[in-house]
């Protein structure tokens, strides 16, 4: 078995790795900026819609899409964690230790970010978008 995967596989693996670690954080940042920005700007303009889309629907998208992205990152981090569980570190320079650390950080941080996004979603169910 080759120990050096081709560059494309390495790139995909690297991207998947960082998606697992940071995907939830990026999704939450997008949720916050788009959700807050749309709500703030639409309400300041006295509108309950973003173009043809009702404001509540637009805001729902800013919750649901980032939440799905975070769930994906959580699954990827869990997969990474499981794959590094039984790896034997024959050479001390193998990056298994730091991969496991980052996988664990990914799992828990994705859970935190998912919780924040879900709490924002609950607020959307309870509060009218422009109530001050």
């Amino acid at each position: 078995m080759s120990t050096h995967p081709d560059p494309r596989a390495r790139l995909a693996g690297g991207l998947l790795f960082w998606y697992a670690v940071l995907g939830g954080a990026i999704a939450w940042a997008l949720h916050l900026l788009t959700g807050w920005g749309i709500d703030e700007l639409a309400c300041a303009a006295g509108s309950e819609a973003v173009g043809p889309v009702p404001l509540r629907t637009a805001l729902s998208a800013t919750v649901v899409l980032p939440a799905l992205a975070t769930v994906g990152a959580l699954l990827a981090a869990t997969l990474l964690w499981r794959r590094t569980t039984h790896v034997v570190t024959d050479g001390e320079d193998r990056p298994v230790g730091r991969s496991r650390l980052l996988a664990l950080v990914g799992i828990w941080s994705n859970l935190l970010f998912l919780t924040i996004i879900v709490l924002g979603g609950i607020a959307l169910l309870v509060l009218p978008p422009c109530q001050r």
Binding site: W28, E92, R98, V105, W108, S109, L112, I116, L124
Partner: protein, 642 residues
């Protein structure tokens, strides 16, 4: 586990002599002005930040004396405004962050097994800019022109119409100037920690203090531009009549608050995070075990540094934004308590499972946990919009943030001072003096600030220079004032303890506490080149780990001695794999000249001497060009080749 001796150097006498020749600095005025040694620069940060702390502390004592009784006349309203503004601005910008950068400067290269910071000249520039910007701001006080609008300088009160004179120009230009130092320092920490770690120090072996410093560096890089833009716009509005914050001309008053708190709330963590790193560094030595849950503490550091950017609007819950907007920030403000709690429980578990050695640094760590948890408790209350709106601008807020900042930053700093004093000065401190200092600081802090919760809830607003007796706040204010003097006495004892240690302390061994990180494997104080042999790290606790220590002694390899020049090792970001040796710069006047040119530029802008400002800007450009001009040396000599 630990020893009290540095490992016998694996380098030969000839190597040591060459290292001394390349890295050593003879004491002289020239060397004092040109040094790029991270330890000397770090010590300067610590001392200078300590001096600014003393100035801000004396301002606080003057304010507490004024407030000890109702309708006192010791300070005029104008003087009081300048004092509370300089107190807050100094504590946040000129004390807390620089003091922690001082710890970082001294310790990061030692903890990661490097010979210096990644950019030593940039490091020196950072210190000079910090010093000059602090002097720039404090020099305004004797002229009655100090900033006077509170440390967060809200518009419209800070605009030219409502606040004429130089006061807020000093604030905006001073913070813009200081921002150069903070940004430079942060970049340096990030690159140092990512590229100069000893071989074998993969991310899962990085000390928690270094994780905290790197997270802080990233927070500064992302947060500070918002403050810089804010201050630049304020200065332009005040001096050149632009209308960024003028609603009548299409500007927006809330724009200031948004930009300020996009910086301001992460800044709370910028201050607290390295201090929490100090706690994680101190505990292993005094509990005889590693911090419990290392991966979870790393998680806490990383997630706090990210979530802290999504909570800023909780400082604006009284501004009338849509409630749904508040809820997005309220959710983040609530959830950020979880990673903070993870760290607290990790430290408590470490103490519970370890064997406690109750020395002064550990006392301050325990004091930190008690105080910081109380501050965190009221912080969680502020995450609730309804409660926040009730206590906004009352003394309850003052009580909360002093619990967080004194508890979360000053106590760990004091723990760090006692912990690393032997390493930095080569002398041991007096344990009895330290214990007295701890109890006076602890009691003084709580007597000063706990009553503020009460008279805040009773309705006393913050930032008032006096109050009437009928309100019933007299007794509580007197208690706070008495407490502030007890606190000041405790801090004075800390200073006495440090001076006593330097002058009369017994010589410190390399590892007096049995610490786990690489800093304790060097001499006390460390040699100019830090390590005769750069270590090969094989665990999270290299100083408790035989093979890691052995790598600096009998296991030394020539490619980790690097005695033929001023060199250190560059390694890969994630796994700490050796890449190549890199040449480090020599001492230089360039950082000092550049900082002086910047000082001239900002002073000239303040005083509206625009031709002088243009000349200073040209000097800055020329100095930068000389600094960055490629050296005429062969590639091998500058470390380009392997």
């Amino acid at each position: 586990m630990s020893t009290t001796a540095a490992p016998a150097p694996g380098a030969s006498r000839g190597d040591l002599a060459r290292l001394e020749r390349h890295w050593g600095e003879t004491p002289s005025v020239r060397s004092w002005l040109t040094t790029v040694d991270h330890k000397r620069i770090g010590r300067r940060y610590l001392v200078t930040a300590g001096l600014f702390f003393a100035l801000a502390g004396l301002s606080a004592l003057a304010m507490r004396t004024q407030l000890a009784r109702p309708e006192a006349g010791m300070l005029s309203p104008e003087e009081y405004n300048q004092l509370f503004t300089m107190h807050g601005t100094t504590m946040i910008f000129l004390f807390a962050t620089p003091m922690l950068f001082g710890f970082g400067n001294v310790l990061v290269p030692l903890m990661i097994g490097s010979r210096d910071m990644a950019f030593p000249k940039l490091n020196a520039l950072g210190y000079w800019v910090f010093l000059f910007s602090g002097l720039f701001m404090w020099a305004s006080l004797p002229f009655g022109a100090a900033p006077n609008n509170g440390w967060f300088a809200y518009v419209p009160l800070s605009d030219e119409q409502h606040n004429p004179g130089l006061h807020m120009d000093v604030y905006s230009l001073g913070l813009l100037f200081l921002g150069v130092a903070t940004t430079a320092g942060s970049i340096n920490f990030i690159v140092t920690a990512l590229k100069l770690r000893a071989p074998g120090m993969s991310l899962n072996r990085v000390p928690l203090f270094v994780w905290a410093i790197v997270a802080t560096g990233f927070m500064v890089i992302f947060a500070l531009p918002a403050l810089n833009v804010d201050n630049a716009m304020l200065f332009l509005d005040r001096r050149f009549g632009t209308h960024f914050f003028d609603p009548e001309a299409g500007g927006n008053v809330l724009l200031w608050q948004h930009l300020f708190w996009i910086f301001g709330h992460p800044d709370v963590y910028i201050i607290v995070m390295p201090a929490l790193g100090i706690v994680s560094a101190v505990l292993p030595a005094f509990t005889r075990r590693g911090v419990v849950g290392y991966p979870l503490v790393v998680l806490a550091i990383v997630s706090i540094s990210i979530i802290s950017f999504g909570v800023w609007v909780h400082h604006m819950f009284a501004t009338g934004l849509p409630q749904l907007s508040y809820s997005f920030f309220s959710a983040a403000s609530t959830i950020i308590t979880i990673p903070s709690g993870i760290q607290i429980f990790a430290w408590l578990a470490t103490m519970m499972l370890g064997r406690l050695v109750l020395r002064v640094p550990l006392l301050f760590v325990i004091g930190f946990i008690v105080t910081f948890v109380l501050g965190g408790l009221t912080g969680a209350m502020f995450a609730l919009t309804a409660f926040d709106q009730q206590v906004t601008d009352s003394y309850f807020v003052v009580a909360h943030f002093h619990y967080v900042l004194i508890g979360g930053a000053v106590f760990p700093m004091l723990a760090g001072i006692y912990f690393w004093l032997p390493k930095i000065t080569g002398r041991m401190y007096h344990e009895g003096l330290g214990r007295w200092a701890f109890w006076l600081v602890f009691v003084g802090m709580h007597v000063t600030f706990f009553p503020m919760h009460l008279y805040g809830l009773f309705g006393m607003p913050r930032r008032v220079y006096t109050y009437r007796s009928e309100a019933g706040w007299d007794g509580w204010n007197l208690v706070s004032t008495v407490g502030s003097y007890v606190l000041a006495l405790g801090l004075l004892l800390v200073l006495v303890g440090v001076v006593h240690a330097i002058r009369r302390g017994r010589p410190a061994p390399p590892d007096p506490w049995g610490g786990d990180t690489l800093d304790w494997s060097t001499d006390s104080p460390p040699k100019p080149y830090n390590f005769p042999v750069l270590p090969r790290v094989r665990s999270l606790h290299p100083n408790w780990d035989g093979p890691s220590r052995e790598s600096m002694a009998t296991g030394a390899e020539p490619d980790r001695v690097l005695a033929d020049g001023r060199r250190t090792l560059r390694t890969s970001e994630l796994d700490g794999r050796r890449e190549r040796a890199v040449e480090m710069p020599e001492p230089s006047f360039q950082p000092l000249v550049l900082a002086l040119a910047m000082l001239t530029f900002f002073t000239a802008l303040l005083l509206a001497w625009y031709p002088v400002a243009a000349g200073a800007a040209a000097t800055v450009a020329v100095t930068l060009a000389v600094w960055l001009w490629p050296p005429r040396r062969p590639d091998t000599e500058v470390g380009v080749s392997a």
